[in-house]
Structures are given as structure tokens and as C-alpha cells.
């Protein structure tokens, strides 16, 4: 095999070739077992070895990807920041904040700002295209009411259309249609198509936007009576830096990248974009976006193949179900908008916490979010849930200036431990949300047990109790609790020892433990064994504090 060269693109080419090679070898091997007498076991071993090689190559590819995105990010920052500072400075002066300005100054500054905004656009386009070519464009998906989106667009473009004596109309058949898309990027696409239509349509012309519901997708059409596109130019329409026939008075604005970017964005969403035109008569642009149900079906397929792959290589997959409890199961009207907004906000938080490229986050119906974490075991996913809870605890969810109360419930199921297919995992996770949580109290002092048991039962928890370490471990063995409240000072086996044993057993290591103490000095010992100090509590602190800690774990 050739040695890789040093430029990133050829390294990627080399690694991709290696990937192809390895894939072919796996295929060949599969074929040859019908011809030869090699045992299935040996074949599987060999396939596993090749798979591990593939894994390694993938990791190298990931590293190169990161290099590329670091490059785009730093160039982006260097270009955008000075521009943003300049634009903001201009806006501040135009708003008369440092003092009043006269008409002449205002006009000069307005022109300057307009040009800077154009520059911002072009830089934005160039950065977008370099991200797209680096394969780095990520979609931030969420529910968007596209009807409202289009209506807002048409409304904001009417003044310009009227000033150019162009009739701008829209035809829609319903009040709302929610699609699962990247709002900001689709906005760019619509803006691009409308800007083009306006640019190439003369006075007295018209632009018509329409929407057609189809079986698996929605078709959007932008039809204008503009100058049209020549047949020879059509094949190059979506190529980079194409800027076609100029209309009198229209300068060569823009980057020539608008349609290229629009095409990439639509195709990333799983849609198609194309155009039809007649020179002198007009142009129609079409694009499709999948319906939510189509996207959901794709997600379910991805879920299934992740499980299949995990089964093959013997790694666990964690499935977290987030359930929004604050609204009914079929919110309508304004509530529906608030729910969408809450879910979209939640998704962007989750995308930053479940940030491994293989992790999948998906809004499943109006009130559930599914999170799939490949190669993650129960303990790590419980920690992740802790971080999610933490992130939304401090964050305010605000919609139209009003604060929204969010009450999310968390269910966890791990493959293959808890279930061995998609439906099973979802069922277990759902059960984990609704079922009563089971707490194990361990203390040699009967009064403490009585006191806490009574209080916890009243709060709706199931409570079992043990008076020493031995009994505790026995009860855990019988049926693992959701949480253990563990006294430190006990005869024979003290709390730290019990904790140690629980930690070392892979079947119980993920169970959260709250330690009860009467002395300060135990805090230091707790730190020594790596216990999070927030889960150590003084008995005197009282029930409320205990309840707080318990709730944060469950």
C-alpha cells in the first residue's frame, strides 16, 4: 500500500481507499466461506478484526474532520468579529446613542451599513460553502411551522415588491404545517429564491409562491414572470460562482453561491431542488422537503441499524426518553407553539451535551425526545441525564417574554441489558418514567429508618430497609433499587465498605448512593474514595435536604 501524503485531502483520499479496501475484504471473506471449509467461528473472528481496523480508520477520519472544522471556525471568527464590531458601531451611531447626527451623516452611514451587510452576506456564503465542502455542515433540526414562515416572508417582502411594481402572491391551503427542519438554513433558501425572483423580474411582473402536500414530502414552488434562463445556462445553474445575465441596473451583487448553498441545504434535508425556465417568459424554482412522518421513519431505521451494529460488535447502546410533562398529550393553539418552542430549545441543549458525532437526538411526537447514545453504558448515561437536568435547572425557558415552566421526566433503557430491540427499549424507558421509584434505606439506627421510611413513603416512593451492610447487599442482589441511602457508621461493615462493593460490581455500580453521616470528618474520607460530596448528607440537615438530593437523582 502507498504511504499517505501530507495534504489533508489526499490523506482523506487514502483513508477512504483503505476503508473501501477493507470493506471489499470483508465481502470477499463472506463469499469464500461457501467455497472453503473454514469454520464460522474463525470467520467471525476475522470479521471482528477487520471491523476493528475500520474503527481505527474511522477515528483517524474523525481527527481530520476536526482539523477541517477548526480551520473553518478560526477563519470564520477572524472574518466575522471585526465585521460585527463595525456593524454594531455603525448601528450605535445611527441610533444617535453617542449624540445626534445630521441628515448627510446619516445617509453616508446608512450606505456604509448597507454595504457592510452585503459584505457580511458574502462572507457568510463563503463560509457556508467551505463548511459544505468540508462535509461539516450540520443541521440543527426542530419543528418549524412552515406556513407561518412563508407568511412572514411574503409580508416582509411586500414593501419591496410593491416598490418595484411586482405582484407577490402566495397560495397555501392550511393554517399550519410542521416540518422537522433547520429553520435558519431553510430561511436562507427561501430568501435566496425570493431575492433571485425579485432581481430578475421587471416592473409589472409577478412572483407566485405555492405549496403542495404530497405523499412523503411537501413541494414548494416559486414562479416568476421574469427574464428567464437560457437553455445553455440551465445545467450550470447550481454550480458555484455562476452569475447569469444581468438586468439593466442590477449590479453584480452577491457571491454567486446562493443556489449552490440552497441545493446543499435542501439535499441535506433529504429533499430535491430544480428549476424550469423559458427565456423571456419566466422561471420556476421547485424544492421538496420530507414530511415529519418521513423523517421519523428514517430515524427509526437509523435506530434499528445502530442496534444491529452494536449487537455485532458487542457494545451497549443507551436510550434516553425525555418526556415533557407540563402540557397535555395533544396541546393545541398557543400551547402547541409553546411546546414546539420548548422542544426545539431542549434539542439545542441536548445537541451540546450529547455531542459525540454518533449520538442521535430526535423529537418524537409532541412531547417526547429520543436520545440514542451508542457505546454508552448505564452509568455514563445516568451521568449524562444528571448533566441535562443540571443544564435546564439553571436555564430559563422564555417564550414571547413569558417564562415557561418545564417539567421533563427521564426514562433510561440500555441495550442489550434492558431490552434487545427498539420497541423493547422504548417500552422499558417509558416504564421507568411512570413506575414507582424504589429506595433502599440502610442504617443500624431503627429510629432513623422509621423516620425516613415514613416520610419517603408519603412522597410516593417504595421503601425497603436494611440495618447493616450484609442485609443491604442481599436486598440489592434480590432486586436492585433506584437509589440507596446509606449510613456510614455501622457495625461490622461500614458505609464506605458497602459503597466500595457496590461500585466494584458491574451490576450495581450505576445505582446512585446518598451517604448519611453525623460527623464532618467523613466528608474528607468520602472525597478520598471519589464520592461526589453533594451526595453526602448530615443526618441533622433534615428531611427536606434529603428529599432534594433524592429528587435530583430520580
Amino acid at each position: 500500500m502507498e504511504t499517505p501524503q501530507t495534504t489533508p485531502n489526499s490523506q482523506i483520499g487514502y483513508l477512504k481507499k483503505e476503508n473501501e479496501q477493507l470493506k471489499k475484504e470483508i465481502e470477499l471473506l463472506k463469499e469464500s466461506s461457501t467455497d472453503q471449509q473454514v469454520s464460522i467461528e474463525e470467520k467471525n473472528q476475522w470479521i471482528k478484526t477487520l471491523y476493528n481496523e475500520l474503527e481505527k480508520k474511522n477515528k483517524e477520519l474523525e481527527k481530520l474532520d476536526k482539523l477541517k472544522s477548526d480551520f473553518v471556525a478560526s477563519v470564520s471568527h477572524g472574518l466575522r468579529t471585526p465585521l460585527a464590531v463595525t456593524l454594531e458601531g455603525l448601528s450605535i451611531v445611527l441610533d444617535s446613542i453617542p449624540g445626534p447626527i445630521n441628515e448627510k451623516q446619516k445617509n453616508i452611514l446608512l450606505t456604509a451599513r448597507q454595504n457592510l451587510e452585503q459584505l457580511n452576506q458574502v462572507i457568510g456564503d463563503l463560509l457556508d460553502i467551505s463548511q459544505i465542502e468540508a462535509g461539516q455542515l450540520d443541521l440543527r433540526l426542530g419543528f418549524v411551522n412552515v406556513i407561518k414562515l412563508f407568511q412572514n416572508f411574503i409580508n416582509s417582502y411586500q414593501p419591496i415588491a410593491i416598490s418595484k411594481d411586482i405582484k407577490l402572491s402566495i397560495q397555501i391551503s392550511q393554517d399550519s404545517l410542521y416540518l422537522y427542519i433547520d429553520r435558519d438554513k431553510i430561511i436562507k433558501v427561501i430568501k435566496n429564491l425570493l431575492d433571485n425572483a425579485l432581481k430578475f423580474t421587471k416592473k409589472g411582473g409577478s412572483i407566485h409562491v405555492a405549496m403542495h402536500m404530497r405523499k412523503n414530502d411537501v413541494l414548494f414552488t416559486f414562479t416568476d414572470t421574469g427574464i428567464g434562463i437560457a437553455k445553455e445556462d440551465m445545467p450550470r445553474l447550481f454550480n458555484k460562482f455562476q452569475q447569469l445575465a444581468r438586468l439593466e441596473g442590477v449590479g453584480l451583487q452577491g457571491s454567486g453561491l446562493g443556489l449552490t448553498i440552497s441545493k446543499a441545504v435542501i439535499e441535506l434535508h433529504g429533499g430535491e431542488i430544480w428549476a424550469e425556465s423559458q427565456l423571456g417568459k419566466g422561471t420556476s424554482f421547485y424544492f421538496t422537503l420530507p414530511t415529519y412522518d418521513t423523517v421519523k421513519a428514517t430515524f427509526e431505521n437509523q435506530f434499528d441499524s445502530i442496534l444491529k451494529g452494536a449487537l455485532f460488535i458487542g457494545k451497549p447502546v443507551s436510550f434516553i426518553l425525555l418526556y415533557l410533562n407540563s402540557f397535555g398529550s395533544q396541546p393545541t393553539g398557543n400551547d402547541e407553539t409553546i411546546v414546539m418552542h420548548t422542544m426545539n430549545t431542549m434539542i439545542s441543549i441536548l445537541n451540546n451535551i450529547a455531542s459525540h458525532p454518533e449520538d442521535k437526538v430526535f423529537i418524537y411526537n409532541m412531547n417526547s425526545i429520543y436520545v440514542i447514545l451508542p457505546e454508552t453504558n448505564k452509568m455514563d448515561s445516568m451521568r449524562l441525564i444528571g448533566r441535562i437536568k443540571d443544564a435546564i435547572k439553571r436555564r430559563k425557558f422564555v417564550f414571547e417574554k413569558k417564562e415557561i415552566k418545564t417539567d421533563f421526566k427521564y426514562g433510561l433503557a440500555v441495550f442489550p441489558l434492558d431490552a434487545n430491540d427498539r420497541a423493547g427499549l422504548i417500552k422499558v424507558a417509558q416504564e421507568n418514567i411512570t413506575r414507582r421509584k424504589d429506595i433502599l434505606l440502610v442504617d443500624d439506627d431503627n429510629q432513623i429508618i422509621q423516620y425516613f421510611e415514613g416520610m419517603l413513603t408519603k412522597m410516593g416512593f417504595g421503601v425497603r430497609s436494611a440495618y447493616d451492610g450484609e442485609q443491604c447487599l442481599k436486598l440489592v442482589e434480590q432486586h436492585p433499587p433506584d437509589l440507596i441511602i446509606l449510613d456510614i457508621i455501622m457495625p461490622q461493615m461500614n458505609g464506605f465498605e458497602v459503597y466500595g462493593r457496590l461500585q466494584r460490581n458491574p451490576k450495581t455500580t450505576y445505582i446512585p448512593v446518598v451517604m448519611l453521616t453525623e460527623h464532618d470528618v467523613d466528608l474528607k474520607d468520602a472525597e478520598l474514595i471519589g464520592l461526589d460530596v453533594s451526595s453526602v448528607m448530615h443526618k441533622q440537615d433534615g428531611f427536606d435536604k434529603l428529599l432534594g438530593i433524592v429528587k435530583s437523582f430520580l
Binding site: H77, A84, E88, G89, I92, N352, I353, R394
Partner: protein
């Protein structure tokens, strides 16, 4: 009495722009240019909200938040982070941060975030 905002960022241009904008919106603004200075200002001026940059010399944003949390008064002050897009994951690992704005930002976005946490 207007709310007091402390902005901690080593980019002087950004600080002066944001200061002008916020003062025009009736906030009192004080500034610091790194984490160390920031901690001093928190102690002496007791701001109602902190706007914090991550990448700074002497003491960066992450360290600043850690140090701030050690103080029982400091812990309570809401913090909005100014960040670049690719530091987002690190920010979500931080505790004690309420919200964030990605640079380069539009003034209106920052104002909107601020209004969520103070008057």
C-alpha cells in the same frame, strides 16, 4: 434604580460597544478585562448580572466561574457566556452558567437574554 451589569471580556472594542448599547437601555455597566479583574469587580461592585467571555488572558472564563462559585454571594449572580460556536460543548459542562450568546452577536439577542434574568 437600574440594574448593574458586569461585562468581562478582553476585547476592548466589544466591551465599549456593549457598554454603549446597554447604557442606552438604562443599565449601569462596569467592565473588567480578565477573570482576575472580574473577581475584584464582583467583590467591590456586586453586580446583578455578569456577561462573561471565555477566552481571556490571566484567568479564563471557566476558571472565573469556578472561583466565583466558591463565594456564597457570587454564586447567586446569573451569568451569560459570550462564546464562539465550537466552545459550546465545554460551556454545557460548566455549572453555574445560566445562558449563552454566540459571537459575533446581534445586540438585540444579548438584550433579550439579559431581560430573562434581570429587570
Amino acid at each position: 434604580m437600574s440594574s448593574k451589569i458586569l461585562i468581562i471580556d478582553d476585547e476592548l472594542d466589544i466591551v465599549s460597544m456593549v457598554k454603549m448599547r446597554l447604557e442606552a437601555n438604562n443599565y449601569t455597566v462596569i467592565s473588567a478585562f480578565n477573570g482576575l479583574e472580574g473577581l475584584e469587580k464582583v467583590k467591590n461592585e456586586k453586580p446583578d448580572l455578569i456577561i462573561l467571555d471565555i477566552m481571556m488572558p490571566k484567568m479564563d472564563g471557566f476558571t472565573f466561574v469556578q472561583e466565583l462559585k466558591k463565594n456564597s454571594e457570587g454564586k447567586k449572580i446569573p451569568i451569560i457566556i459570550l462564546s464562539v460556536k465550537d466552545k459550546m460543548q465545554d460551556i454545557f459542562k460548566m455549572e453555574g452558567v445560566q445562558d449563552y450568546v454566540i459571537k459575533p452577536f446581534v445586540a438585540e439577542m444579548l438584550l433579550e437574554r439579559i431581560r430573562k434574568y434581570i429587570r
